[in-house]
Every structure is written in C-alpha cells, then in structure tokens.
C-alpha cells in the first residue's frame, strides 16, 4: 500500500536486489484476499495481512503463508528451490 516513491526510498535505504511493488488501489490485495478490515467505533480500517506466496511458472499457487509465520521467508524460499530443481530435472 506504500507509494512507488516510498518504496524507491526504502529500496535505496536497504539496497534491495529485487523489485518492490506498490498496490495503492488495493486491487491485488483484494483479489488475493489478504486485505483485512477492522471495525473501530463504526469506522472500518483496512490493512494488508503479511503474506508470502509462491507462484510457479504456470501461474499456479504453490505456497501460502500468512500472519506471523510469513515473517520468516525461509519456507517460501525452500519451496522456490524445490520448484526450480523439479523444473530443471524435466
């Protein structure tokens, strides 16, 4: 939900080697069902659930982790490694 400008500043600050995407209109978060609503005194506040999702070359979801378990990316990374091995063996 951060803007591309905020993401660019963050990318520069921590020197990331991957692309940071911005979902300002929350379309992707909504279609993936990871946008959560919380009612506080009649107002609804929305935020994105933390999540790790692995999608294979065919566009099929192979791994989903959400919430606290998604803080650690190691499970998702090992799924990526396994996928790569399987695809290379074919």
């Amino acid at each position: 939900m951060d803007s591309p400008a905020a993401n660019a500043a963050f990318a520069k600050q921590i020197n990331v080697k991957f692309t940071l995407l911005s979902d300002m209109n929350k379309k992707m978060l909504t279609s993936y069902g990871i946008l959560k609503g919380h009612d506080v005194q009649g107002d609804t506040y929305e935020w994105a659930q933390r999540a790790n999702i692995v999608i294979d070359k065919n566009g099929i979801v192979q791994h989903i982790e959400e919430g606290d378990s998604a803080v650690n990316p190691n499970n998702a990374l090992s799924v990526c490694t396994d996928l790569h091995k399987k695809q290379s063996a074919k």
């Binding site: 939900m1 951060d2 591309p4 905020a6 993401n7 660019a8 500043a9 963050f10 990318a11 692309t19 940071l20 995407l21 911005s22 979902d23 300002m24 379309k27 992707m28 978060l29 909504t30 279609s31 993936y32 069902g33 990871i34 946008l35 959560k36 609503g37 009612d39 609804t44 935020w47 994105a48 659930q49 933390r50 999540a51 790790n52 999702i53 692995v54 999608i55 294979d56 070359k57 065919n58 566009g59 099929i60 979801v61 192979q62 791994h63 989903i64 959400e66 998604a70 990316p73 998702a76 990374l77 990526c80 996928l83 790569h84 695809q87």
Partner: protein
C-alpha cells in the same frame, strides 16, 4: 387495500435488506480466499521504478515469490 399492499412491500423488502447487509459484512472482513493449487489472479502493479509489472508476464518464464510486507518504510 392500499395499506395491505404497503405492508406486503415492506415484508418483501426486509429479506432483501438482510441479504444486502450480510454480503456487505462479508466484504468487510476478507478471508484469504486463495489456496495452494489455485490459479493466481493476474495483477498489474507499479514498481519502485514507476514501471508496470504484470504477473502474467512471468508465465512460462519464471517462478514468482510474492512477499506482502506491511508498513515496510516506517520506523516501527
């Protein structure tokens, strides 16, 4: 006769209103609808370099690791 007609309209309107409020509530608290094995919905998002990135551009080419990271650019 007019009164009877008005009463009938209110009664039929009630179940419709209940249906609407139930569907609105569902949308407010979205569940993670996606499951392993599902086709990933396509999306087009802006990168930190202001370029559009489309999920379907990677189809047949690369596996994709999406990390949804909340409030990354904050001091907390």
């Amino acid at each position: 006769m007019k009164r009877a007609l008005a009463a009938a309209l209110v009664l039929t309107a009630l179940p419709v209103a209940t249906l609407f409020s139930a569907s609105a509530q569902k949308e407010e608290v979205a569940k993670v609808s996606l499951k392993v094995g599902d086709p990933a919905p396509d999306f087009t998002l802006l990168s930190d370099q202001w370029k559009t990135v489309k999920l379907s551009d990677f189809k047949g080419k690369k596996n994709v690791f999406l990390a949804v990271y909340v409030l990354a650019f904050t001091g907390g």
